[in-house]
Subunit: 277 residues, 2 copies
């Protein structure tokens, strides 16, 4: 195994090619996970595998090599101070043409290691509102599936000087960032958008909800016109952990009490990259 | 060039592998075309290339090899009695991780030849209503992009004995089939759903709209509760041409006057596979 960053395994074999028949390529017919690895260890691996399993069940993808996949993730993380390991599970190479799977496909897993990206350097994130809306579909909501053109368009149109954009549904509900979940606090306490119609149920979102048992978080629809009343906001993903928002849609936020309290609750803070540095 | 069906060209080279870094694989970040070829010739090729060009412009994909692509399509169609040539244009191999393109990607084109599929044998199509809804997104509407999980789910749940399913938006508007556009007629005349919020602007739909200058077609939102008043319906794609619906949501339809008239108008009918047989 080459110790350099950039290694890829396709169904366990070192290589960087897949079949042109992969349904992930033709239709985005598959799922992915992005796993933060620190000191040679993947973080929150059971949660990633659990979400992947739920996604495969909902999309009827017959993937079952979870133990092998976990070993491959650990292999790629081993010896790295920090890195990202990305997993793609495609329904597999098509066994016939057309949208409908035959049921005979054999899932393809692609596990790749990537260098830790450069992060926004400011203490707080500057967050805008994307003009790109998220389509609603309860059957896909929550899944980390491969149909991500909306996020691509949101990033393409992200203004310079803005670290991340919030994305709304067509019904003007705030759903998430383009690559992170979002939590807000107002006078009434902490809340985060429900993801019944769109959005991804992030692993770090789940960690926060678990950690926050002593800090009630209300999961509910969040209308865009509530944003002016927000006094604290933070974004979550496994790379960022909890990152406070310093500017929300042009308005400075001066509070980070909930984010600090929650970071402390999550494993004494030691599992969060932001605390680790 | 191997004369057998199943040939694939990747950026002009014979082969059936692409990079695991392709953005089409990671995000569905690309477009496709499915081209019906008869007697060695791709049909409606200028319309396919025009739609691809519009899609690349809207998604800011810097593809410009249209002449080369046309030659490759013609090469794969040559000598075949009838076949399908499928084109995928991916934004290219990622030059960095994450949703946002760097702008340095070089688009990848995949051109593959497939055998003509077995068609439903009955004279008319039996059409149901899918429980899978189409998410609305005006920025993606009309494009033949690679985010097709909704169509995959619609095909996965299509009942036995049903040839195709109509898909509705979340607002209960009829948009299209899962792999075809749809036209309806009632006492007031012919109409077809507008595709401002979701759906694919099919090449055969466009051919029908062009042909129908003497047969006015109203393009407008179509509510699901209008279906009981429909007396004729037909589906269009480049493989089917115009195929009449014999059963719509459990109700037999006995008319095909518009479909017959339009088939006659479209190049004397000779370009339509259904007429050719």
């Amino acid at each position: 195994m080459n110790a350099a960053l950039g290694v890829t395994l396709v169904n366990g074999h070192s290589g960087n090619q897949v079949s042109t028949s992969e349904r992930a390529l033709h239709y985005g017919d598959g799922l992915f996970e992005t796993i933060a690895c620190h000191r040679g260890q993947p973080r929150w691996l059971p949660l990633h595998l659990q979400r992947l399993r739920q996604g495969c069940e909902r999309l009827q993808i017959a993937f079952d090599a979870y133990d092998t996949l976990a070993e491959e993730i650990e292999l790629l993380a081993a010896g790295q101070r920090r890195c990202i390991v990305k997993v793609i599970v495609s329904r597999g190479a098509a066994t016939r043409r057309g949208y409908g799977p035959s049921g005979d496909e054999r899932p393809t897993r692609i596990v790749s290691r990537h260098s830790w990206p450069r992060e926004p350097e400011a203490a707080g994130l500057r967050v805008g509102i994307s003009a790109v809306r998220l389509g609603s579909n309860a059957l896909l909501a929550g899944l980390k599936h491969l149909n991500r053109l909306e996020q691509v368009l949101a990033q393409l149109s992200r203004p310079a000087g803005i670290d991340e954009v919030l994305m709304l549904s067509g019904a003007q509900q705030v759903i998430s960032g383009s690559m992170a979940n979002v939590f807000f606090a107002d006078e009434g306490g902490l809340f985060t958008p429900d993801l019944c119609e769109c959005g991804v149920e992030g692993v770090m979102r789940r960690v926060v909800l678990e950690a926050a048992r002593g800090v009630p978080v209300i999961v509910r629809p969040v209308a865009a016109d509530e944003l002016p009343g927000v006094r604290e906001a933070f974004l979550t993903n496994v790379r960022w952990g909890l990152r406070s928002v310093s500017v929300l849609d042009g308005r400075a936020l001066h509070h980070d009490d909930y984010a600090r309290q929650l970071r402390g609750l999550i494993d004494g803070g030691e599992l969060l990259p932001g605390v680790e540095r």
